[in-house]
């Protein structure tokens, strides 16, 4: 999608980009009108009130006019600013909130200087190119192996920093097939400029065909995660049929979890990652905090993605009550 020099905005290709474009055009128009107004006022004043023989000194300002207009100006700017703030915050809510219609397609994204790699749920991997279906919610699970990167697809009006040591999620729903640019937006070293990739959006049936033809070199993510789960012997405490020393994982993902300190937290990617690496950070109510060892250093960033994919696959599984 090549932008021409005078197209202000790149092609819009996600379900949220239209609303963002409206806000951009609105705020740009306000900036343009106010700046032009200030410029015109200055030119008009400089001509109309120019200093000339017989008009060497300015008039005194009336204090009453000053107070009234200054306060009125403050009031007007506050109302306009409040409006812009609310529109921006509401739009941001729409960008952040995952739509709850239908199962999202979960894609693992790993950023590493200076390339992007992707994992599909069936285990298929891609480098510097990501195929996704149009019309379906794609949920990204992003992690970095070194410095901070930023996942930026201008056509989707989507940007999310990818921070090492964190597992972030972001989502988009592409509207039209095509190839869209992904750029790294956070400076990350010598080849930052070339840390780009293509997002290839296909019709849903073409995507399914592409996925079937794919050269899958590993098991599906959730299955790989299950294998890792078994190898690390996590089930010794977490499997439902044993004496319960650890909270069950079935039906956990995306639900609120009550913690021992009385607060509660949503079991998202970041919570699961934190609980694997620092089990004492958020201890679940009714459980001991010192039972689980830390797995920091024992599992890599990519393996964490697998474990989280496995736990996510249990989201709709039935738990066995203790």
């Amino acid at each position: 999608m090549i932008a021409k020099p005078f197209d202000l905005l790149p092609a819009a290709a996600s379900t949220t980009s239209g609303a963002v474009d409206l806000l951009i055009i609105l705020v740009f128009s306000i900036i343009g009108a106010v700046s032009l107004g200030v410029l015109v006022a200055m030119v008009v004043f400089a001509v109309r009130y120019r200093r000339r023989p017989g008009h060497l000194t300015g008039a005194e300002h009336s204090s009453g006019v000053m107070w009234r207009t200054e306060l009125l100006w403050c009031g007007v700017t506050m109302v306009v600013f409040l409006g812009l703030f609310l529109l921006g915050a509401l739009g941001f809510g729409r960008i952040e909130q995952l739509p709850d219609d239908g199962e999202p397609l979960d894609i693992g994204v790993t950023a590493k200087r200076w390339m992007w790699s992707f994992q599909h749920p069936n285990g298929q991997r891609e480098l510097s190119r990501l195929h996704v279906p149009a019309g379906r919610v794609v949920r990204l699970h992003l992690t970095s192996e070194d410095v901070i990167h930023s996942f930026y697809v201008p056509a989707f009006r989507l940007k999310q920093d990818v921070v090492p040591g964190w597992l972030r999620t972001a989502w988009f729903r592409a509207t039209a097939p095509g190839t869209y640019a992904l750029a790294c937006a956070e400076y990350c070293g010598s080849e930052h400029a070339r840390m780009r990739a293509d997002i290839v959006v296909m019709e849903a049936h073409n995507y399914d065909r592409w996925l079937a033809q794919g050269d899958v070199d590993g098991p599906p993510l959730a299955a790989a995660g299950r294998r890792l789960f078994e190898r690390l012997d996590c089930g010794a405490c977490h499997e439902s049929h044993l004496r319960r020393r650890a909270p069950p994982l079935e039906g956990l993902y995306g639900r609120p979890v009550a913690l021992r300190d009385g607060s509660s937290v949503i079991a998202d990617d970041e919570y699961l990652r934190r609980s694997i690496l620092r089990p004492d950070a958020d201890v679940v109510a009714d459980y001991q905090g010192d039972v689980m060892p830390s797995y920091a250093g024992l599992v890599s960033d990519e393996e964490l993605l697998l474990l989280v994919a496995y736990i996510r696959s249990l989201a709709h599984a039935e738990g066995v009550s203790p």
């Binding site: 020099p5 060497l56 207009t69 600013f81 941001f92 930023s150 989507l158 090492p164």
Partner: protein, 525 residues
Amino acid sequence: MRSWLTTTDHKRIALLYLGTMTLFFVLGGLIATVIRLELATAASDLVTAETYNRLFTLHGVIMVWFFLIPSIPAFLGNYLLPLMLGAPDLAFPRLNLASWYVFVAGGVLTLSAMIAGGIDTGWTFYTPYSTTFSDSHVVLAVLGVFLAGVSSVFTGLNFIVSTHRLRAPGQTWMRLPLFVWSLYATSLILVLATPVLAMLLLLIAVERGLQIGIFDPGVGGSPLLFQHFFWFYSHPAVYIMILPGMGVVSELIPCFSRSRPFGYGFIAASSLAIAVFGFLVWGHHMFVAGQSYFASVVFSFLSFAVAVPSGVKVFSWLGTMRRGAIWLTTPMIYALGFVGLFTIGGGTGLALAMLAVDVHLHDTYFVVAHFHTIMVGGMLMAYLGGLHFWWPKISGRMYSERWGRIAAYLLFVGFLLTFLPQFVLGTQGLPRRTASYPEEYQFLQSLSSAGATILALGYVLPGVYLLLSLVRGRPAGDNPWGATGLEWHTTSPPPPHNFAVPPLVLVDPYDYPRAPQPTAEALDA
């Protein structure tokens, strides 16, 4: 020579700062020239990507800490504050000299980092890149910036104490020039925010040396903690850079409108409001970094709040011009250029404060264009306006008014040509800090580089005619502009202790309806 290096006269120290900062400005400008040349074509061909990264880092570090932050306070503020207060010097003259030496030491450290091979982290020093991954001379550079920070704390302290203790008899707070109000607000930020930067820079040095794990997630630290600390200083630092410029413009517009400022109290109070609110908005640099939705909403709201006092200033400046007697001299052209570009810069800041819009524009050329509009379009215009306004006072000579006006208009046009295309580039989705870029952006990038050549010419011209005025300029007299400030009540240049007779203040500082008529009127002929 020796008398200059051991002087405690605030006017001489101000000139020492002027000389040092001008050298840094020239260096930062030369680097910018190479950057714009590289960006004229899409490929990374003039310099390697590694060199490019070192160039934009050094450009930022030098321009922010060794030019913009000290520019108006340490030069014009140092020179004018005692004069405007009717005092013989600042409260702590020797601390003032020490601040210049510390500043020079910081500059030498930073330049030695450059000569040793440079630094490639960006002026923001984001971790874990700066602490763990960069193999450039980070420690030298951050220690240099640390010293520049210490120097600006000295200056800030000196200004606060001087404003409280050294005002002339009869000079109440409401009879202070607006430039003094803006310096006071700036000094509060300098003294309260800079220690956070100092701590942060030392932590970077310590983490690089000892791998402690404060910011590096690999050893248990948090990169976001770094960003919170960094912007807790660096956002207020933006107001350190712009508030003194607003103060200068608040002097120029009444003088060349021959009118009292419209809403003196509103302009003075808005400086303090900006200083206070400026401390509460740092999180708007982190909307896509992964802070909570709630935090982002609060920071967005507060960022809009800080724009209200800025709007008050623009409104008051226009109100001052209305029904004035406007005399379009070189300093006034700069002041009007400031008002126009500050409005664009502030307005585009509002676009970035809108959460949904920032997601798209964050870390693109739009941000580059936004802060250059505030810093170059705003601050540098105000700096040059102030330099031209007080040049007759400082040097005792008039410069060529015709060349002054030509340079001022050139700068305005050059600025718009350089940075308007960058607003479009960012909106089209081009990330910042890239040595190469896809071909589709080349037209606007070349246009920006072409505009930069006009901008460069606009900077060279004042250097030439201001220096020429020292030998060929007409004597300026005490008060060529017919201005009302106390600094115009003494000779040009002022004697070592400023006033033969300590002044007594009986009226407000902008009694323009009864001001003496300018003696430089022949300029208009």
